[in-house]
């Protein structure tokens, strides 16, 4: 797996395709990749779906789909046709399912290219409860927008 670490930028088009495909099909809405951030996830008082998809003694890889509160409420309102004002079970499940679908797309693309990434169920947590991520020596943070509201994809390798 050592080939992944120095080449994290090559994940970018794969992630973009997975995110845009998922939002177009499920919500009929285009989302745009706005920027590639040069630091860790911004603080946003949000909710996150995380998957640790490879863990060995030498390396761990983490996929995080992170939403500001307002963004995920807007996403789910567009889907269910009702307003969301609290972090209820529907919100947690929605974040988990979106994480699952987007990561599944990425995993298939990478495994078709010769990697052997595992599939696991997403863990959905509040931002404040996110397990320590700062130890990753390589990371890719992509900012997207859904109807003007930001959300983020974080790929960490460490």
């Amino acid at each position: 797996m050592s080939g992944i670490v120095p080449q994290i930028e090559k994940f970018r088009p794969i992630v973009r395709e997975a995110v845009q495909n998922t939002f177009q099909i499920m919500f009929g809405t285009s989302v745009s990749e706005v920027t590639l951030l040069e630091k860790n996830l911004p603080k946003m008082n949000g909710i996150l779906g995380t998957i640790s998809f490879l863990e060995t003694a030498d390396v761990s890889l983490t996929f995080i789909l992170a939403f500001k509160k307002e963004t995920i409420f807007n996403v789910l309102s567009a889907f269910y046709g009702r307003d969301f004002e609290d972090f209820n079970d529907s919100v947690f499940q929605g974040v988990g399912e979106l994480t699952n679908i987007i990561y599944g797309h990425i995993r298939t693309t990478l495994n078709d290219a010769g990697y052997e990434l595992k599939m696991s169920r997403p863990n959905v947590v509040f931002e404040k409860d996110l397990p320590q991520q700062q130890g990753h020596k390589d990371f890719l943070v992509l900012k997207y927008e859904f109807k003007g509201e930001p959300f983020f994809i974080y790929l960490g390798i460490g």
């Binding site: 499940q93 929605g94 988990g96 399912e97 699952n100 599944g104 298939t108």
Partner: protein, 139 residues
């Protein structure tokens, strides 16, 4: 066949998925077709109990949409349990999976699933799958 809602009125469907979003999407597709008898379960274990109860009540289901990756009992175990039960083995199965589980779902088809759907999908895709299956069933 596919455009007549009355064909689907008596179709009994069970949706098995731990995520409300996916259950809602499948329900929308079925409702648009005119399916009125829709029951939901959040895992394979609960689904199997519902299927056994329906068997006891002589009110069996025609079609199951089942997720692959669920807590307690996954989709393939639910499929195998039904196919090994003489009173449940004629229920049609459409497996639902994420892109990353594509190979596994092909195994499910080998084990008797009628079809499969890869997430993300639209309600229109659900309609198309059911129409295709109904034609195959001659209903």
């Amino acid at each position: 066949m596919g455009g007549n809602k009355s064909n689907y009125t008596n179709l009994r469907c069970l949706i098995v998925d731990d995520f409300e979003m996916i259950r809602s999407l499948i329900r929308t597709g079925l409702s648009t077709l005119g399916v009125q008898q829709i029951v939901e379960a959040t895992d394979g274990e609960a689904a199997l109990q519902i299927l056994h109860e329906s068997k006891a009540n002589n009110n069996k289901f025609d079609l199951v949409f089942s997720d692959w990756n669920m807590p307690k009992m996954n989709g393939i175990d639910l499929l195998v349990a039904c196919k090994s039960d003489q009173q449940l083995n004629n229920i049609h199965f459409i497996m639902v999976t994420s892109e990353g589980e594509r190979q596994a779902i092909l195994d499910a088809v080998k084990n008797g699933a009628d079809d499969y759907i890869v997430k993300p999908f639209t309600a229109n895709l659900i309609q198309g799958k059911v129409e295709k299956l109904m034609e195959k069933m001659g209903r």
